[in-house]
């Protein structure tokens, strides 16, 4: 149902310790955000792309399509940042003036936009590295070890599981409505969708009761205990992560005062 989720279960890095992948993604992402020039973010983008496509064996086409996904926000956001509107004429602004209002862009503004663009791309590819190689259940188990409150962890587990159940139900409802011409026009569409949403809600409530009963039957006492297969941490991987992130950190410091 969700392609990212599927790749997480089939990628070649699936059986690497989730803590290692999580640490790598978060560290690299932070370094990327700390950078003040495009060098490190660009490097991170390439590095993670290589890791995702060559090591984790996620199809390149899918990965690039995924990269296009946040473009809508990125373009709109960057447009808002670079677009300068000023009352009085400003020599630094390249643009045009209408009725005394100058509309345009500045050179530093463009630099800033370029930096932000690469930083976002770098950070996003770190996120993708994590989400394309690590199933949600394992991300949750990492969060649990990071002492995120148990209630939050339990809720996450339940939400994750039931996303798929509800999604399937919603899909079935949508199909059965469509087969009766439920989305024939705008008015019918609104009505059908509202019916779908409310029925989905009622059904979810019913399901939650049934689930509670089923868990009670297995001795549920108010706390969901998690069992995990013990999985060894690889020293080799840890060393590799430390090395890569150390080099990136050094590069960030080296390029600290670079203009772009």
């Amino acid at each position: 149902m969700f392609k990212i989720d599927q790749y997480a279960y089939t990628s070649s890095l699936r059986h690497v310790h989730p803590g290692e992948k999580f640490a790598f993604a978060m560290l690299t992402m932070s370094i990327c955000l700390a950078a003040s020039s495009v060098l490190v973010p660009a490097l991170v983008t390439c590095l993670t792309a290589a890791a995702i496509i060559l090591v984790a064996r996620v199809p390149a086409r899918f990965y690039f399509r995924l990269l296009l996904l946040p473009l809508g926000f990125l373009v709109a956001g960057l447009l808002a940042i670079t677009l300068t509107i000023s009352r009085e004429p400003d020599p630094a602004v390249c643009g045009f003036a209408i009725r005394g209002i100058t509309l345009g862009v500045t050179i530093p503004g463009l630099y800033h936009a370029a930096l932000l663009f690469t930083k976002s791309l770098g950070a996003v590819s770190c996120l993708y590295f994590l989400s394309l190689t690590t199933p949600m259940v394992e991300i949750i188990s990492v969060l649990r070890r990071l002492k995120v409150p148990a209630l939050l962890i339990e809720l996450m587990g339940l939400v994750y599981r039931f996303i798929f159940v509800i999604m399937e139900t919603a899909g079935r409802m949508y199909i059965s409505q469509t087969s009766r011409c439920g989305y024939a026009g705008l008015k019918a569409s609104y009505r059908s969708l509202a019916q779908l949403v409310s029925n989905l809600f009622v059904k979810s409530c019913y399901r939650s009761q049934a689930l509670f009963t089923a868990l009670l039957a297995r001795g549920y006492t108010g706390e969901i205990r998690m069992w995990e297969d013990p999985r060894p941490v690889s020293r080799k991987n840890l060393a590799l992560i430390a090395l890569v992130d150390f080099i990136l950190l050094v590069l960030v410091l080296v390029s600290w005062r670079w203009p772009v």
Binding site: F2, I4, M26, M29, S30, C32, L33, L68, L69, P70, L71, G72, F73, L74, A76, A80, T84, I85, S86, R87, D90, I98, R99, S120, A123, V124, L127, L130, S131, M136, L151, L152, E154, L155, M156, V159, F162, I163, I166, M167, A170, Y183, S189, Y190, A194, Q195, L196, V197, S198, L200, F201, V202, S204, C205, R207, Q209, F212, L215, Y220, G222
Partner: protein, 233 residues
């Protein structure tokens, strides 16, 4: 004047070109867009609300252990809602956020916790939003939105407004204020060189208004119909 509007229109047109179907998620601040210090700031600001949410849920669970399952399903429900397509007035499809509905049904505190989880899942499973920006997104969508929706709905009840109106206003204003909050968050991080934060906010609001205002209206309408159905059940 005519030239002026012409330029504005062409900018709008360009914007439409750049927004594929995913425009609906445009209000999730993407991964890496906010500077580190702002990420931390919004995390810190969201934390008390999350703690309050967790405490209120824990209290409810003590009374009835089944609440946990209900909330788990409600979270999944909210996630699925955000993945549904909404027939929009402009003909394009966008999505209902379900924030208003959730806040009315579950109260704003529980929604902050559920919202945070849903946003985390959206980031990981759908690549909308991000981990570093999770704090900021949670604040705008799972704290401000539900709070506004809830307060408006209660206010409407107290003022004895017709229910459809208070439901509509709750959903509509909840959406709208979410979007205003996001604009403020972006403006604080990227103040304009001329006019500072306020000018930046106007710019962000102007650009995102294209998608967000019709969305808020659609969501308001949908929430009314859903609410009526639920009452009928």
């Amino acid at each position: 004047m005519r030239k002026n509007t012409g330029i504005l229109l062409s900018i709008l047109f360009l914007l439409f070109l750049f927004f594929p179907q995913q425009n609906a998620w445009a209000m999730h601040i993407m991964e890496g867009f906010l500077p580190l210090k702002w990420c931390l700031f919004w995390y810190a600001l969201t934390l008390p609300f999350l703690v309050a949410g967790i405490l209120s849920i824990q209290k409810a669970v003590k009374v009835d252990p089944g609440v946990k399952m209900l909330l788990g399903l409600a979270g999944a429900f909210a996630f699925v809602l955000s993945a549904l397509k909404l027939p929009s007035v402009t003909g394009s499809c966008s999505h209902p956020t379900g924030v208003g509905l959730g806040a009315i049904l579950f109260g704003p505190w529980a929604m902050s916790v559920l919202g945070c989880i849903v946003l985390l899942f959206q980031a990981v499973l759908l690549a909308h939003g991000g981990l570093t920006t999770l704090g900021a997104n949670t604040f705008s969508m799972a704290v401000v939105g539900p709070l506004v929706a809830y307060v408006i709905y209660r206010l409407g009840e107290r003022l004895a407004l017709p229910r459809w109106l208070s439901v509509f206003l709750a959903a509509f204003l909840g959406d709208l204020l979410t979007y205003v909050t996001t604009s403020i968050q972006l403006a604080l991080a990227f103040p304009a060189s001329h006019g500072g934060v306020v000018a930046a906010m106007i710019k962000f609001m102007g650009i995102f208004a294209v998608t967000q205002v019709p969305l808020a209206i659609s969501e308001g309408i949908l929430t009314i119909i859903v609410f009526n159905f639920l009452v009928a059940h």
